[in-house]
Amino acid sequence: MIKVRIPTPLRRLTEGQGEVNIEGDSITALIDTLETQFPGIKERLCDEEGAVRRFVNIYVNEEDIRFHQGLNTPVKQGDEVSIIPAIAGG
């Protein structure tokens, strides 16, 4: 199981859960599983071409997937994935 941290703005879609544990061997696989469990979440993360939106970052542990293999970045047992969208409140 991979632990995925859900940011506050998306918790409406995860029934308030801030953390979900799901199976998957890559970020793409995890997003697809998330979408199955929580319909609507994928379009908040990815644009129409399927790329991660430019104001949303996804990290495997401390690493931004944009600087690794993007959506193909592999994940393994024990990894923690964080979804971090830009927020602007002050």
Binding site: P9, R44, E63, P85, I87, A88, G89, G90
Partner: protein, 283 residues
């Protein structure tokens, strides 16, 4: 200028710290810090920077104090409702520490005024409440080589990072666009006004911004540059993730396409029907 006995007493608890001392206190007194917004984040930042003895605090805000601000904007009070926030801020700061020179700017930052307004400051604390300002401030700070300490809040969650791409001594350092290349289209991300925010969250992040600013002024400790701190008040977790410099950053990369300031559309609410804004389709 030497410190008076009163000043030595006022700042004694931090002068006692060997990392500060008289020399450090002088650096704090000489520092010029610019606060964007006298709201949820700017209030605690301003109070702690002023109490620490920061010599010059510039503050910009275009708003007046509203009753609904007082749950988190601790610079203001019931008595200053309907007063310009910068006036209310100045009054609170001078009462607490008359050593601090407050420079007030009433208005909003835009591509034509920002460079002139921030050029005389050393450090900028972004506590604004919208994406267009955040991208504008990042770009202006980059062009003028100013250190930017960016804090933002949303409901129970806060983010903090220090941006100083002009510091290259210890390797490449990112700007805000390395972290988030573009703002979301208006309306996709609700503002605090619409979403609500826990007042103490603003306090936590604003004070952390002040802490980063003091570290930058004093040149001590490990900067948050190259890292993003994420605070979740609900599970009381602080997490840090890496923010590498984007080698293809459109602003601070080697082949920039952003060579001048851009005004993104300011909108805190849903865009009018049929409008197509800023590159990314709405979800």
């Amino acid at each position: 200028m030497a410190f008076t006995d009163e000043q030595l007493q006022r700042y004694s608890r931090q002068i006692l710290l060997k990392e500060v001392g008289g020399k450090g206190q002088k650096k704090i007194a000489d520092a010029r810090v610019f606060l964007i917004g006298a709201g949820g984040l700017g209030s605690p930042s301003a109070l702690y920077l002023a109490s620490a003895g920061v010599g010059t605090l510039g503050i910009i805000d275009d708003d007046v104090v509203d009753l609904s601000n007082l749950q988190r904007q601790v610079l203001h009070s019931t008595k200053t409702i309907n007063h310009p926030k910068v006036d209310s801020a100045e009054a609170t700061i001078s009462k607490m520490n008359p050593d601090v020179k407050v420079i007030k700017h009433v208005g909003r930052l835009n591509a034509s005024n920002i460079l002139d307004i921030i050029k005389d400051y050393d450090y900028i604390l972004d506590g604004s409440d919208n994406f267009p300002t955040r991208f504008l401030v990042n770009d202006a700070a980059f062009f003028l080589k100013k250190t930017l300490i960016s804090g933002s809040i949303f409901r129970f969650e806060g983010q903090l990072t220090t941006l100083k791409p002009h510091f290259t001594d210890e390797g490449p350092v990112p700007c805000y666009r390395c972290l988030y290349p573009e703002p979301p289209p208006p309306g996709l991300v609700p503002s605090c006004q619409e979403a609500g925010v826990l007042g103490v969250l603003a306090g936590t992040i604003g004070i952390l911004q002040a802490a980063e600013a003091l570290k930058e002024i004093l040149g001590i400790g490990e900067s948050l540059a190259g890292r993003l701190l994420i605070y979740d008040a609900l599970d009381m977790s602080f997490r840090r993730v890496k923010v590498p410099k984007n080698p293809n950053c459109l602003l601070c990369g080697p082949s920039p396409t952003i060579k001048e300031l851009l005004d993104y559309e300011i909108s805190c609410t849903l865009p009018p029907p049929g409008s197509n804004t800023n590159n990314t389709p709405s979800a």
